[in-house]
C-alpha cells in the first residue's frame, strides 16, 4: 500500500535530502577540483596573503641625499631623517643627476636636495628650501618620505623659532611654537598597517570566490558525468526541488562554516591581525553571508556547461569585487553605477560588515544595513536557485520522456519494418 500522507512525504524528503547531502559531501573529497577549491585554497591562500602583508608598514625606505650646503643644520636634518623609523639615508650624492640615476636603478625611492644657499638663507633670516623628490610609483614610499621630511622639518623649525624669539620660560617656548595643541588619534587600525587594512577584505572574498568556484565545479562535474549532460540525474532521490537545494546547500554550508571559522578566527590570530569581533556577532554576519553566496553560486551553476569554464568566469572577478567593497578606493567616492552593481554580490556587504565588526569593534546594530542586505540576498538567491532547479528538473524529465518516446517510436518502426520484410 502506498502512503501519501504529508508526514510520509516529509520523511521521504528528509531522507532524500540526506542522501543528496552525503553524495555531495563525498564528491567534495573525491573530486580533485572541488577538493582544491573547497579545502586546500581556503586553508592555504589566506596564510600566503597574510604572510605577504604581515610586515604591515614600510620601514627604512632608502633615500639619496644631495647635500650641497654641508652646513650644521642640513646635517642635523639628515641625521634626524635617517633616525626616523620610516626612512633611511642610503646614499650621499654630489648632484641631483647622480641621485636620479640611483632612483632609476631602484636602489633609492626618493631624493632630499639641500641647495648650496640653504644655510646662508637660514642665517640671513630668509625662508630656506629643501627639495623633496619622490618616486610616485609607490604611494607608501612617497608617504613615508614626505611625512618624515615634514615632521623633521617641523621639529627643526620649532628649534629655530625658539632661538629667534625672546622667551623667558620653557612654557613660553612651547607657546611660541605651538599656540594650539593638536592631538592626532588614529582610532582604528592604529598602526596604519597595510595588512590590517586589506586582509579582512581578502579573507571574506576568498570565502566567496572559493565557494563559487567549488559549487560551479561540482555542477560542471555533475553535468559532465551525466550521460545526457544534465545537471540533475534521473534518480528516485532527485524528485523534489527542495530536497536537492537543501541537500546540496547543507553540504556547502557545513564545509564553509568550518572554513569561515578558520578564516575569521584562526588566520588573524596566527598573524596577529586586529580582531575585535566576538563569536556571536561573527555567526550573525557570516550565516546570511554564506547562505547568500551558496544560493548565488547554485543559481549561477546551472549556467555551467563544462567544469573548467567556471574558473574562466569566476577568478577574474575577484579583483573588481574587492574594489567594489570600498576597501581600496573609498566607498563614498565610488561612481553610482558601481555602487548598484556592487549590491548584487554578497561579498560587498560581507566585507563591509566584517571590517566594521572585526577592525572597528562595531556591534550588530552598526552593521544593520549590511545584515538586512545579506538576508535579502540570501532569500532572493534561494528563490532563484529553486526556480533554476525546478526548470532543470522539468527539463530533465522532458528530455527523458522525449528519449523514451523516440525509443518507442524506433521500436515500432523496427517492428513494422520487420513486418514489411516478412
Amino acid at each position: 500500500m502506498e502512503k501519501h500522507s504529508l508526514l510520509q512525504k516529509i520523511v521521504n524528503g528528509l531522507k532524500d535530502m540526506c542522501y543528496i547531502w552525503a553524495k555531495e559531501m563525498r564528491s567534495t573529497v573525491t573530486d580533485e577540483g572541488v577538493l582544491i577549491f573547497f579545502i586546500l585554497v581556503p586553508i592555504a591562500y589566506p596564510l600566503l596573503y597574510s604572510w605577504i602583508y604581515n610586515n604591515e608598514v614600510v620601514r627604512d625606505v632608502p633615500v639619496a641625499i644631495v647635500d650641497q650646503s654641508h652646513s650644521q643644520t642640513s646635517r642635523r636634518f639628515i641625521r634626524a631623517f635617517d633616525a626616523s623609523p620610516e626612512t633611511k639615508t642610503a646614499y650621499f650624492c654630489d648632484n641631483i643627476d647622480e641621485a636620479r640615476d640611483l632612483v632609476a636603478k631602484q636602489v633609492v625611492r626618493g631624493v632630499l636636495y639641500f641647495p648650496s644657499d640653504f644655510s646662508h638663507k637660514l642665517n640671513r633670516g630668509e625662508q630656506a628650501h629643501i627639495g623633496v623628490y619622490c618616486d610616485m610609483s609607490l604611494m607608501l614610499t612617497y608617504k613615508a618620505i614626505y611625512q618624515t621630511a615634514q615632521s623633521v622639518a617641523t621639529d627643526i623649525n620649532a628649534g629655530i623659532q625658539i632661538a629667534r624669539s625672546t622667551n623667558y620660560t620653557d612654557r613660553d617656548e612651547e607657546l611660541t611654537t605651538q599656540p594650539l595643541d593638536v592631538e592626532e588619534v588614529p582610532l582604528f587600525n592604529t598602526t596604519g598597517g597595510y595588512g590590517n587594512a586589506i586582509i579582512p577584505g581578502v579573507l571574506i572574498l576568498i570565502l566567496q570566490q572559493t565557494l563559487l568556484l567549488g559549487i560551479g565545479l561540482a555542477a560542471g562535474t555533475a553535468r559532465e558525468n551525466n550521460r545526457y549532460r544534465e545537471l540533475i540525474p534521473i534518480s528516485k532521490h532527485y524528485v523534489g526541488v527542495f530536497r536537492i537545494v537543501f541537500g546540496k546547500a547543507l553540504c556547502y554550508f557545513m564545509v564553509f562554516a568550518l572554513m569561515a571559522a578558520y578564516l575569521t578566527r584562526c588566520v588573524p590570530h596566527f598573524f596577529r591581525f586586529t580582531t575585535m569581533a566576538g563569536g556571536p556577532e561573527l555567526v550573525a554576519l557570516l550565516t546570511p553571508f554564506l547562505l547568500a553566496v551558496i544560493f548565488f553560486g547554485m543559481a549561477l551553476s546551472a549556467l555551467v556547461r563544462y567544469r573548467e569554464n567556471v574558473m574562466l568566469l569566476v577568478v577574474f572577478t575577484s579583483l573588481p569585487l574587492l574594489f567594489m567593497t570600498g576597501i581600496s578606493w573609498p566607498q563614498t567616492n565610488m561612481p553610482a553605477i558601481w555602487q548598484y552593481v556592487a549590491s548584487v554580490f554578497p561579498s560587498t556587504f560581507g566585507v563591509r560588515g566584517f571590517l566594521r565588526l572585526s577592525s572597528m569593534g562595531g556591534n550588530l546594530h552598526d552593521i544593520r544595513p549590511e545584515l538586512i542586505a545579506l538576508w535579502i540576498q540570501a532569500a532572493l538567491y534561494f528563490f532563484a536557485t529553486c526556480a533554476v532547479y525546478r526548470f532543470q528538473i522539468n527539463h530533465t524529465r522532458q528530455q527523458a520522456f522525449d528519449r523514451l518516446d523516440m525509443l518507442k517510436r524506433k521500436a515500432v518502426e523496427a517492428k513494422s519494418n520487420r513486418n514489411i520484410k516478412e
Binding site: G33, M136, S137, L140, N189, F316, P330, T332, M360
Partner: protein, 389 residues
C-alpha cells in the same frame, strides 16, 4: 615553407575554434573590455574628494567655526555632520557614515586668547587606508594653519612684514616634487598595474584552456597530425591567433590610458609597445609551461589562476616588495606581473632608459621561453593521454 603553411593551417583552424566557442569571445574580448572600463571609471576622479568628516564642536565660537569652515574647504574633506559628543562621532565611524572627526573642547578660543595652549583632537580611521591618510594630511594642514594664525596675529601686532612672518613661522620649507604623478592620481597609480594583471590573468587561463580542450574534446591527435607531430609547430599555429587577439586588446588598453586618458608616459611609445608584447608572450609562455608540467586541464588552470591572483600582491605595486619578508621578495621574481610592473615604472612611468630594467626584460623573455622545457611532455600527453574529468 612547408612548416609555414602548416602553421598557417593550424592558425586558421584555431580561428575557427575561437569564433565558434563563445567562451573565447567572453574571455578574450568582452571581459577584458569590461575590466578596463571598470577600473578606469571606478577611479575616474583620480583623487578621492569630499570624504565625509564629522565635527564635535563644544566650543562653538567664531574661531572654531572658521576652523571648521577651513577644514570643509579642503578638496578631500567634507564636513558632513556635527555630533554632540565624541562617543556619538565614534559610533558614526563604526556605522560607516564618516571616516574621521574633529573634536574641539569647550574653552578652546578662550585658551588661545589667554595663551594657555588649548588642545584639539582629530580622530581618524585607517581601516580605509586611502581615506585615513588623506584626511590625516588635511588635518595636519588645518592644525598648522590654526597655530600659524595665532602667531601671525601676534607678529603682525609688533609690526612684522608678511615676508618676515612667513619666514618666522616656517624657516625651512619643503619643496615637494611628486615626480610623474603630481596629483597623486590613484587611477594612474592603480589602473596601470591592476588592469595589465587581469589581462595577463586571461592569457594565463586561456592558454592552458585552449591546449587542454584539445584533449578534452578529443581533437589532440588531429591537431598534432596537422603539424606532423612537431609540438612547436602545433603550439605556434595554435597560439598565434590568440597572441594577435590579446595583443590587440593590450595595445588598445595602453592606447586608451596613455593617449585618451593621458596617463603620464614620459618613456614614450617604444617601451609601451615592447612591454605589451612581452606581457602577452610571457603570460602565454607561463601558461604553456604550466600545462606542460601538469597536462591536465583542471590542474594547470587551477595553478595558473592561483599564480595570477597572488601576483597582484607579489608584484609590489601596492605594498612594496622590499617591505615583505626577504624570502617573499625573492619569490616575487617568479611572477611575470612583478617584472611587468618594474618595466612599466622604470621605462614608461619614470622615463628612465630601458637598460635600467634589463633584468626584468630578460626575465619576461625567459618566461616566454619557458615552454621549451615542457614541449616533450605536451607532445606525450597530446598523443597518449585521454581526458579524465
Amino acid at each position: 615553407m612547408h612548416i609555414l603553411r602548416q602553421i598557417y593551417r593550424i592558425a586558421l583552424r584555431e580561428c575557427g575554434i575561437i569564433i565558434k566557442n563563445p567562451i573565447y569571445w567572453f574571455c578574450m574580448v568582452l571581459f577584458p573590455i569590461f575590466i578596463i572600463w571598470f577600473f578606469t571609471s571606478m577611479m575616474q576622479a583620480g583623487v578621492p574628494t569630499d570624504m565625509p568628516v564629522g565635527v564635535v564642536d563644544l566650543d562653538n565660537t567664531t574661531t572654531t567655526r572658521a576652523m571648521i569652515r577651513r577644514l570643509d574647504a579642503f578638496q578631500t574633506t567634507k564636513v558632513a555632520a556635527t555630533y554632540d559628543n565624541v562617543n556619538q562621532a565614534r559610533k558614526a565611524i563604526q556605522e560607516n557614515k564618516i571616516y574621521a572627526f574633529l573634536y574641539i573642547p569647550r574653552g578652546t578660543t578662550t585658551g588661545l586668547a589667554t595663551a594657555s595652549q588649548p588642545k584639539i583632537s582629530f580622530y581618524y580611521s585607517n581601516v580605509t587606508l586611502v581615506a585615513g591618510s588623506m584626511l590625516y594630511r588635511d588635518l595636519k594642514t588645518v592644525a598648522a594653519l590654526g597655530s600659524a594664525a595665532v602667531g601671525q596675529q601676534k607678529l603682525a601686532a609688533v609690526g612684522k612684514t608678511g615676508n618676515e612672518i612667513r619666514t618666522f613661522l616656517q624657516p625651512i620649507a619643503l619643496d615637494l616634487h611628486m615626480i610623474g604623478n603630481p596629483w597623486a592620481n590613484y587611477n594612474v597609480y592603480l589602473t596601470t598595474a591592476m588592469v595589465p594583471g587581469l589581462l595577463m590573468l586571461f592569457v594565463f587561463l586561456m592558454t592552458p584552456y585552449s591546449i587542454g580542450t584539445e584533449l578534452k574534446f578529443k581533437r589532440s591527435r588531429e591537431w598534432m597530425a596537422m603539424a606532423d607531430n612537431r609540438t612547436w609547430v602545433a603550439l605556434l599555429g595554435k597560439l598565434l591567433p590568440q597572441l594577435m587577439l590579446f595583443l590587440t586588446i593590450f595595445y588598445a588598453f595602453e592606447f586608451y590610458i596613455y593617449y585618451v586618458l593621458e596617463f603620464p608616459h614620459p618613456g614614450g611609445i617604444f617601451p609601451i609597445l615592447l612591454l605589451g608584447l612581452l606581457a602577452v608572450t610571457s603570460a602565454q609562455g607561463f601558461g604553456i609551461f604550466a600545462f606542460g608540467l601538469m597536462p591536465s586541464l583542471r590542474m594547470s588552470m587551477s595553478v595558473c589562476s592561483l599564480w595570477a591572483m597572488i601576483s597582484f600582491s607579489t608584484s609590489g605595486a601596492t605594498y612594496p616588495a622590499f617591505a615583505m619578508s626577504p624570502f617573499l621578495e625573492g619569490v616575487a621574481q617568479l611572477f611575470p606581473l612583478r617584472h611587468y610592473y618594474m618595466i612599466y615604472q622604470i621605462g614608461i612611468f619614470n622615463g628612465f632608459p630601458l637598460a635600467d630594467a634589463w633584468f626584468n626584460i630578460a626575465a619576461l623573455v625567459c618566461f616566454s621561453l619557458l615552454p621549451l622545457f615542457t614541449l616533450w611532455n605536451i607532445k606525450r600527453s597530446m598523443l597518449l593521454y585521454v581526458y579524465i574529468p
